[in-house]
């Protein structure tokens, strides 16, 4: 039997049992978000850094619903369109409470939300030098992934498809090439639409997946959170089990000897 308990995900020397990372955006309420996270079994959640609403002091805070002592907060630079904004955001995030493990995401186009890899690469270098542990959202480009690795990234996070698109993995070959070239944690980030997409990512050899919209915007977010949890486990188990070779012709499952 595969002992999945010992099969931990290690990012920047920190051990996690769950290979599913979930986003905390787009939920109807904070309590819905908290419940979905619990059901997903995720131990890391992405969070955004934004201005405090100073006119409504009673507005509920994320930290009141999701305890950062129990769940690892992964501050994210979503919404940043250049290196300067991204660095400012993550330096602030670190200041909130000592977070060093961060997700860098520098977008290049407001419509397709593809990452600006030049700005992303520049930011990775600076953040690594400043002692951050950087998980980097990137294109599914093996050359860029290598450059990020050489610049001090702690995890490579290629997109499956545009953020929030729900299209699933569009370029399996590139993901496999990246998998084969890196020992860094490889986490599919963005573009997944349903649980089976997560299974495919895991079967390609990815170390984890990051999902937000597919759970938060599902008709039944709690059920979908559970589905993704199971899908990631299934995919990982399948990958570790070693699939059979593909052949073009049929190969009977029952012995031909002894046919009456």
């Amino acid at each position: 039997m595969v002992n999945l308990k010992k099969d931990s995900l290690i990012i920047a020397n920190k051990k996690f049992n769950s290979r599913l990372i979930v986003g905390t955006g787009k939920y109807k309420s904070m309590s819905e978000c908290a419940k979905a996270i619990k059901l997903s079994g995720a131990e890391i959640v992405t969070v955004a850094v934004r201005r405090v609403n100073i006119s409504d002091k009673n507005k509920p805070l994320l930290m009141d619903y999701i305890d950062p002592k129990k769940i690892t907060y992964l501050p994210n630079t979503a919404g940043c369109f250049n290196s300067k904004e991204a660095l400012r955001t993550l330096r602030l995030a670190r200041e909130i409470g000592g977070w060093k493990l961060v997700k860098l995401e520098v977008l290049g186009d407001k419509k397709n939300l593809f990452p600006d890899m030049i700005e992303t690469l520049k930011s990775t270098e600076v953040l690594a030098k400043e002692g951050f542990k950087v998980m980097v959202y990137c294109n599914d480009d093996p050359l860029m992934a290598k450059r990020l690795e050489n610049s001090g990234a702690d995890a490579i996070m290629p997109l499956a498809a545009p953020i929030g698109s729900g299209l699933g993995i569009q370029n399996k070959i590139n993901i496999q090439i990246i998998r084969n070239q890196t020992k860094l944690p490889l986490i599919i980030d963005a573009g997944l639409g349903q649980a089976s997409d997560a299974t495919i990512a895991m079967e390609l050899g990815c170390d984890g997946v990051l999902v937000n919209t597919a759970i938060a915007k599902a008709k039944k977010p709690f059920e979908m959170a559970l589905a993704f949890k199971n899908a990631v486990i299934a995919g990982r188990q399948s990958y570790k089990s070693g699939r059979i070779d593909k052949i073009l012709m049929g190969n009977p499952s029952s012995p031909s000897k002894g046919i009456i």
Binding site: R51, V52, I54, L92, I96, A190
Partner: protein, 72 residues
């Protein structure tokens, strides 16, 4: 009674009028900001939260107070 002079500063993009001799700690206290859950910038420089009572504010200072919210 001596009238306290007011100065205008910007907090999270909104103009606020504060007493001239206010320090940053006092301003944050009045806004009921939970210090352990935020980060603060003064004129685009991150402020060490332990030192806020020593920081005097000047006219046109820009303060940004940020925290974590839901995001992907």
């Amino acid at each position: 009674m001596k009238k306290i002079k007011k100065i205008k500063i910007k907090i999270n993009g909104k103009i606020k009028s504060i007493n001239q001799d206010s320090n940053l700690s006092l301003v944050l206290k009045n806004l009921k900001i939970p210090l352990n859950k935020v980060a603060i910038e003064l004129n685009e420089e991150i402020i060490d939260k332990k030192k806020i009572s020593k920081i005097k504010l000047n006219k046109n200072d820009k303060i940004e107070i940020v925290h974590f919210i839901g995001g992907g």
